[in-house]
């Protein structure tokens, strides 16, 4: 008994017991002491942050003046700068080029025909890798044409094509600046941290106010969202260029500029391309979300049909997003892995077989499309629709399995969700702050403790304590379930290579899907509410738990396993006594990622009616209340940051204990 009761265990048990008691009896306590402040943060202590932020933004838009130009002129200039290429791409892909307005409009040139676009896609696929990829990418684009998603898909594609170069090049330059200038790097790091944790909706609001409703605002939001990972990857990959290669450049007599552009950047290109792939996928994800502030396209179709509860149309548009995500992801990944090949000899046509073919097809399409409209616009008569099929299927499932689903839902709600919700909601805010501080202090030292307590205090002072607790509870339950499912899957994937290929491949695909897509089937099957939100979050956050578990187990040094085998371990002992303990740091990193993804997804699940911080942000978005949106967004970010630091400190401690 005495040995079991170490000081660490006493601390954790005590902390939990106090929290549980306070949570259970906070209401009685308030009644007995007649102190309402115990369960509710007093209104008069609330910080007026919301109003001041809103007022500041108002001032910025209405009166701010930088001597030569007003702030409004600045945002308009940025908007115009983005608008021009965007409009050009829209003309190229969808509307065609015209001159004049309204009835007097004269068409100068039609848009690219669907045949030309599909051939382009195939060419890119083959150029990036091989015929297999070409077939995949081509099939994806054909799908868009055949299933009648062409128009929306091209709008989405146009946004992605504008956002990606800006995000990638901007990220590259910011990363280079941070790599070169230490103080800029110190300045940038916390901003990047915050950008990665603030939910996307939160910065939709100020952007909406600054740039107005429409595609340009959506583009700005997309670029802002997709750039931070590129910055990080740039810094990281420049730093990981071997010291000697840099020295070789210096000894060759390179100037600073030559070192950067002739030595560092080309050497880091493979990892930089991974960053570009990330930018593409994040842009697509954001373009879909940004349909709420007027981006249009596939995301808008999904949103609209979700609102109409038009199941078939929702799934169709959702599948189109999936198809596009897969095409973009595979093609850009292939580019990242492409090795340099020497150019073949010959004249211009022979040296660039694909460019010339594509050019020819475009021209032919242009001319022939004039006479045969079917080549220009995919004929409506030939489109297939799977909408009714999906609707019927859903109906069938709902008719035949309604009771089963309902039973599962009720059991999980009653048995898990509601008790946990009650526990978290009951914790008095003051104790919540103290407890978070204590936990962080115990794990990561007093600095982390103070920081965590301050951040929680900010949430309470913003009057968002109740909603924050709902966020934590939903996130906690989802992460728990994702981990319980994900880690065994990861172990399975690591132990059985054949199963591993299937599982990890599936997880890769799951991760490329824009978060929005997850909502569709969930809402169809379980309608709105906490349970649906939880399922969507679990699906979205599952991938890192599986991946890191598999990775961690595979990384256990061969010698350790051999030592275990030679000591006479059974398979089970080998797993529990050798592999899992050594893999804990990796498992914790996976947990960290799972939490981050869960939090970012939670905000999106506000669309299916959770009453957490995500809803607060979403309400702010619909009311265009920047102050409310930013404060709620910061609260979400703070929860994410505290969770991230705690889990990282745990992982770090574990690594040190294992001497890794």
């Amino acid at each position: 008994m005495g040995r079991w009761l170490t000081s660490g265990r006493v601390f954790w048990l005590g902390l939990f017991a106090v929290t549980w008691l306070l949570s259970q009896y906070s209401f009685q306590l308030y009644k007995a002491l007649d102190a309402r402040w115990i369960i509710r943060y007093p209104k008069k202590w609330q910080l007026p942050l919301e109003d001041s932020i809103s007022a500041f933004l108002n001032w910025l838009v209405e009166t701010a003046n930088f001597y030569f130009f007003t702030f409004r002129e600045l945002t308009r200039a940025i908007a115009a700068l983005l608008e021009a290429p965007y409009q050009f791409l829209r003309n190229l892909l969808i509307e065609g080029f015209t001159t004049g307005y309204g009835d007097s409009a004269v068409q100068l040139a039609p848009s690219l025909g669907w045949v030309a676009v599909v051939v382009c896609a195939i060419a890119i696929g083959h150029y990036a890798r091989n015929w297999a990829l070409a077939a995949l990418v081509g099939a994806c684009f054909l799908y868009l044409a055949i299933f009648g998603q062409w128009h929306s898909a091209m709008i989405t594609l146009a946004s992605v094509l504008i956002a990606v170069p800006i995000g990638a090049v901007g990220g590259l330059f910011l990363g280079i600046a941070a790599y070169r200038v230490p103080w800029f790097n110190r300045l940038l790091q916390p901003v990047l941290d915050l950008m990665q944790t603030v939910p996307v909706f939160a910065y939709l609001v100020p952007i909406l106010i600054l740039f107005g409703f429409g595609p340009v605002a959506a583009l700005v939001a997309t670029v802002v969202y997709a750039m931070p990972p590129m910055v990080r990857i740039t810094i990281l990959s420049l730093r990981s260029v071997p010291e000697e290669i840099q020295e070789a450049g210096r000894m060759a007599g390179c100037t600073r500029r030559q070192i950067m552009w002739k030595v560092l950047v080309p050497s880091a290109t493979p990892s930089l391309m991974v960053g570009v792939n990330q930018v593409i996928m994040l842009s697509l994800n954001m373009v879909i979300i940004a349909s709420m502030i007027g981006a249009g396209g596939l995301g808008f179709d999904v949103l609209a049909s979700l609102r109409r509860l038009d199941i078939g149309a929702g799934i169709e548009a959702g599948l189109a997003i999936v198809v596009m995500a897969i095409a973009l992801d595979r093609a850009s990944q292939a580019f990242a892995e492409r090795s340099q090949r020497s150019l073949p000899d010959g004249n211009l046509l022979q040296r660039h077989p694909w460019s010339s073919t594509v050019l020819l097809v475009i021209l032919a399409n242009l001319v022939l499309g004039h006479f045969i409209p079917a080549l220009q616009t995919y004929p409506d008569a030939m489109t297939l629709t799977t909408g009714p099929f999906w609707s019927d299927a859903m109906e069938w499932i709902n008719v035949n399995f309604f009771d089963t689903f309902e039973a599962v839902k009720v059991v999980v709600l009653q048995g898990l969700l509601l008790p946990v919700k009650k526990f978290f909601s009951g914790i008095p805010w003051a104790w919540g702050i103290i407890a978070t501080g204590l936990i962080s202090w115990r794990i990561g030292g007093w600095k982390l403790g103070v920081m965590a307590a301050l951040m929680m205090a900010f949430i309470a002072a913003s009057g968002l304590w109740g909603k924050a607790m709902v966020t934590i509870y939903l996130c906690g339950v989802s992460v728990l379930i994702a981990t319980v499912i994900g880690i065994p899957l990861g172990i399975w994937a690591a132990e059985k290579p054949a199963a591993g290929r299937v599982i990890l491949g599936l997880m890769d695909t799951l991760q490329t899907l824009p978060s929005f897509v997850y909502l569709i089937p969930v809402v169809m099957l379980f309608r709105v509410g906490d349970f649906s939100a939880m399922i969507a979050v679990v699906l979205y956050a599952l991938a890192p738990a599986v991946r890191y578990a598999a990775h961690g187990l595979r990384d256990v040094p061969e010698q350790m396993i051999e030592a275990g085998v030679m000591s006479g371990c059974t398979k089970r002992q080998l797993l529990w006594r050798v592999k899992l303990p050594l893999a804990t740091p990796q498992l914790l990193l996976g947990l960290n990622q799972t939490i981050m993804l869960a939090i970012s997804m939670l905000v999106i699940t506000a669309l299916v009616g959770t009453r957490d911080l995500g809803q607060e942000v979403y309400i702010a978005l619909t009311k265009a209340n920047a102050g409310q949106g930013i404060v709620a967004g910061l609260s979400v970010a703070f929860i994410a940051i505290v969770a991230d630091r705690i889990v990282n400190a745990l992982a770090e401690g574990q690594r040190r204990r294992l001497g890794l």
Binding site: E244, E247, A248, G253, Q258, P266, S267
Partner: protein
């Protein structure tokens, strides 16, 4: 050997840690203990070296002895904390970035331990890289690169990328690149340490072949004493950032300056280092079996002397300076001496 000094470093220090410069100003000649108390690490301590034109100067020491840092100070890849480095009479440390770039572009070449080839360039483009950054026209630089690539025996592999080559071949590219600008001063930082023993031997032979053609001034870093005595005209032994002794290989073995050097040289195959001159003794008889040159190592003459009945003459510059006996040779061969 032409005795003109091409590179000289005077009292060079490189300290890592906070406020290293201020510390060194206040304490001009700190001991190791002083550094430790100040929280500093002495990577190079009070290094004084003269490099003569045309010689192979080997800096040798175990890992962490500061040899890599010293050579980076000499090429100013690392900024020394204190000291002077004179290259052809000019202090490198006073040069502006621009002048330094100019010197590196025309007079220095360097070969790296991990090859440090640019992964996105072919063999030929890698070799042409130093010319590329100088803005030499494409045709001209590729022609010159072709020359050096052929010089190191990689003809036929010009279009390969580094990842398609073996380690030994990659280092040949590294050597070709460093020779492309025809440097006066050639730094080699453990060039063969990352290679397999057999390949290492082959590359050393290749290196000797190249040097016999090119007659560069070479600063060669290694942790392998056998490699050092095979290649060096002179060797500097380093320990904990300080140079223990600078001497010819034979001197190092026969008269080690410190216990550390003695310990280091104890297990060397002495027959490879000791020359006939070192064993020469006054003539004692009239019958001699033959003549050996004074600078021949025992390894090369051992068999002959040992098999013969009488001692050999030791001859230097056409004059007999003494005799070498069977027993003296055997002493060396069995390690008695």
């Amino acid at each position: 050997m032409n005795q003109s000094v091409i590179l000289e470093c005077r009292d060079v220090w490189k300290l890592y840690g906070p406020n290293a410069e201020t510390f060194l100003n206040n304490t001009p000649a700190p001991k190791k203990g002083d550094l430790g108390r100040a929280g500093l690490i002495g990577a190079v301590r009070a290094a004084n070296v003269q490099i003569f034109k045309g010689e192979i100067f080997v800096i040798m020491g175990l890992s962490g002895s500061g040899k890599s840092t010293l050579v980076r100070c000499l090429s100013r890849l690392v900024e020394p904390t204190a000291g002077e480095i004179h290259f052809e009479g000019e202090n490198l440390l006073n040069m502006s970035d621009k002048e330094l770039i100019q010197i590196r572009r025309s007079k220095m070449g360097m070969v790296f331990q991990q090859f440090a080839l640019l992964p996105h360039l072919t063999v030929l483009e890698n070799a042409a890289f130093p010319l590329d950054v100088q803005g030499v026209p494409k045709a001209e630089r590729l022609a010159r690169a072709q020359e050096v690539v052929e010089l190191v025996g990689l003809k036929g592999r010009e279009g390969y990328y580094p990842r398609e080559l073996s380690g030994g071949q990659q280092q040949r590219v590294g050597i070709a690149r460093s020779l492309a600008v025809e440097p006066d001063l050639w730094f080699l930082d453990e060039p063969f340490s990352a290679l397999d023993p057999l390949i290492r031997r082959e590359m050393q032979d290749e290196f000797i072949r190249l040097q016999n053609m090119l007659h560069k001034t070479i600063i060669f870093i290694t942790h392998d004493f056998d490699e050092a005595i095979r290649l060096a005209d002179r060797i500097a032994v380093m320990k904990d950032g300080a140079i223990q002794q600078v001497a010819k290989p034979e001197e190092l073995v026969l008269n080690p300056a410190t216990d550390y050097v003695a310990e280091f040289t104890r297990h060397v195959n002495r027959a490879k280092v000791i020359t006939a001159a070192a064993l020469a003794e006054p003539l004692s008889g009239d019958s001699f079996s033959g003549t050996v040159p004074a600078n021949a190592t025992i390894e090369t003459i051992g068999d002959r002397v040992e098999a013969a009945e009488h001692p050999f003459h030791v001859e230097q510059d056409g004059k007999v300076i003494g005799q070498i006996t069977r027993s003296a040779v055997i002493d060396v061969l069995v390690g008695r001496r």
